[in-house]
């Protein structure tokens, strides 16, 4: 299970990369593996604001629909609209082409380091 060291994580299996004041957000390799084939992603509108921990959308797989939670607070600056036609990118490349949205950061979240996230995965097993 891939857990890139340069990213931060949440207990709800999102990853976040913060560059300057923009946070890029997706779901982890573990999350996509557990969900199975993703068939639909519900994305928020640009300009919407979320607080850390708010549900910002949902990802639907052949097994279930799961809420997505904002790792940090902020306003939506961009969504990955390629996922509308190709939700499988989340399975194929969760940390790259499968990114979900970008927020202009305005609030801190309860984030985990890569090492802490790996520990969480071990505990869940």
């Amino acid at each position: 299970m891939s857990v890139p060291q340069d990213l931060q994580y949440t207990k709800t299996h999102e990853w976040v990369r913060i560059e300057d004041d923009v946070a890029t957000i997706g779901i982890t390799d573990h999350a996509q593996e557990e969900l199975g084939d993703v068939v639909f992603v519900e994305l928020p509108e640009g300009g919407t604001s979320f607080e850390a921990g708010d549900s910002f959308g949902a990802v639907e797989s052949v097994k279930a629909v799961s809420d997505l939670y904002a790792p940090v607070g902020g306003e939506v600056v961009e969504v990955n609209s390629a996922l509308e036609d190709a939700p499988e990118k989340i399975n194929e490349d969760p940390y790259g082409g499968g990114w979900i949205l970008k927020l202009r950061v305005s609030g801190e979240g309860d984030l985990l380091s890569a090492a802490d996230y790996e520990k969480l995965l071990e505990e869940e097993e």
Partner: protein, 475 residues
């Protein structure tokens, strides 16, 4: 491939001009269509109806019916759906001409028998739940949920309490619970579980406040585990002026053993089509009757049946939320449920005892090979996980080759690779042993073999991912 195994559609069969009927000759003078209908009402093209002869129609539908799969053909342990045998005595009752020939607009005095059945069933459900008031209007479980939550909403509106904006839903809830809350214009807030798979009461305390309208709890929950803290849960809600709603999908585990009113439940729904054995599957027909406390009774849907001396009347409750369905609800289902309860009488309790015994028998026999995430006896259904490294989906597809309808899989969401098995009380030990045998055999199978399953079904494994990604809802 699909066409070869399932056959073509009837509209693609036959030939132009072929027909399976003959009409008598004209006994009136032929008239030009344009003289009697405006131009816009005259069809430009043929309607594209099937043009087939009678034997072709009969064969087409007979062959389709032989591919049907149901409780009448095979064991059907679909968790939380209570696919029990439908006693044929129910059908006999429903076929009585005095019922089957009734019109819903028949005057009350000409429909006394039907109204009496409704009145008595209201009483039976009241006795089973311990709650004083009942409505038979909702036509499905989810509509029973919606009815209940709309009643709660109207109660707070009537009381002038405008701040009740949230409904709490445990992580084990049926998906319809948060959907109901949302349809009734509440925000649904999830409550997590403790180590027994039950509602975490400490987390509930944190989340209940003056904005909470209700908690929607299923008991036993969808892990097949009894919510042992239900009394404390009710207390937390009532201290905050909120209601406890119980999803009655799992009432097959409670009949004569647990009265929701004794657990301080304020309002609940029943699934007559599950617990009381009226046929279901394929989307209906159903009845999601509700029962509620005296405080909520004035808000019940219109109409309920009341008795005045020897006469029965349809009555609109004082502060009714209005109609939830046309006429009297699904009367056929109401009648069959009445019949089922009358046949059992006080022995309804045996239904629950046998259903729980059967689930625990399956649990005990699968344990060791399959993983059982929650210790201790289960209620009427059991959640298991395949051996490590195996997928619930593969086992489910393998069961089709063994002649079983697969159990519910990937639900409840809180259990990874969940398989939710509900055998019901109407299955014999031999049937359960055969099913367990198939489950154990599949657990020993090589993954690559299982990935091929089903081999013996009319279609092999369907590409569910592609079907969902490239949704075609019509042809």
């Amino acid at each position: 491939m699909l066409e070869k195994t399932l056959g073509s559609l009837i509209r693609d069969k036959g030939r132009e001009g072929r027909r399976g009927y003959t009409l008598p000759g004209f006994d009136v003078e032929k008239t030009d269509l344009e003289k009697v209908l405006p131009q816009k009402s005259i069809r430009k093209e043929k309607p594209g109806l099937p043009e087939v002869d009678e034997p072709a129609v009969i064969r087409h539908y007979t062959n389709l019916s032989r591919k049907n799969w149901g409780i009448d053909t095979n064991f059907y342990p679909l968790g939380s759906c209570t696919m029990k045998h439908n006693p044929r005595a129910n059908e006999a009752a429903a076929a009585v001409p005095g019922f089957s020939g009734l019109h819903p607009l028949q005057p009350e005095k000409e429909a006394r028998g039907a109204l009496r059945v409704m009145y008595e069933l209201q009483g039976f459900l009241s006795e089973i739940s311990g709650l004083p008031a009942v409505s038979l209007q909702p036509m499905a479980g989810a509509q029973g949920e919606l009815t209940s939550i709309l009643m709660v909403k109207k109660y707070f509106e009537d009381a002038g309490d405008e701040g009740r904006t949230t409904v709490l839903v445990p992580a084990t809830a049926h998906g319809t619970n948060p959907a109901t809350a949302s349809m009734a214009d509440f925000k649904s807030v999830e409550v997590g579980l403790d180590e027994h798979g039950c509602v975490d009461v400490d987390e509930l305390r944190e989340k209940v406040d003056e904005t909470t309208a209700a908690l929607m709890i299923t008991n036993p929950n969808t892990c097949g585990v009894y919510e042992r803290n239900i009394a404390e849960i009710a207390e937390v809600l009532h201290e905050n002026g909120a209601f406890l709603y119980m999803d009655g999908a799992n009432m097959n585990a409670n009949l004569g053993r647990m009265r929701p009113a004794d657990a301080a439940v304020d309002i609940m729904h029943f699934n007559l089509h599950k617990t009381f054995s009226t046929p279901h599957g394929g989307g209906g027909p159903g009845c999601g009757a509700i029962a509620c406390s005296a405080a909520l009774a004035p808000f019940r849907p219109d109409p309920t049946v009341e008795k005045d001396g020897d006469a029965f009347h349809l009555v609109r409750p004082a502060k009714s939320i209005g109609r939830m369905s046309t006429f009297h609800g699904n009367f056929g289902v109401i009648l069959k449920a009445w019949n089922y309860i009358k046949m059992h009488g006080p022995e309804l309790r045996d239904v629950t005892e046998m259903a729980v015994l059967n689930a625990n028998y399956v649990r005990a026999r699968l344990k060791g090979v399959y993983r059982v995430p929650y210790e201790g006896p289960c209620k009427h259904e059991v959640v298991v996980q395949p051996p490590k490294g195996m997928k619930a989906l593969d086992i489910a597809k393998g069961l089709i080759d063994h002649g079983y309808h697969p159990p519910t899989i990937y639900f409840p969401l809180v259990v990874k690779e969940a398989m939710l098995i509900e055998p019901t009380e109407t299955e014999s030990k031999e049937t359960l042993d055969d099913f367990v045998g198939a489950m154990l055999e599949l657990a020993e199978s090589a993954t690559e073999d299982l990935e091929e399953a089903p081999i013996h079904a009319p279609t092999r494994r369907l590409d569910e991912t592609r079907a969902a990604r490239q949704l075609k809802a019509r042809w």
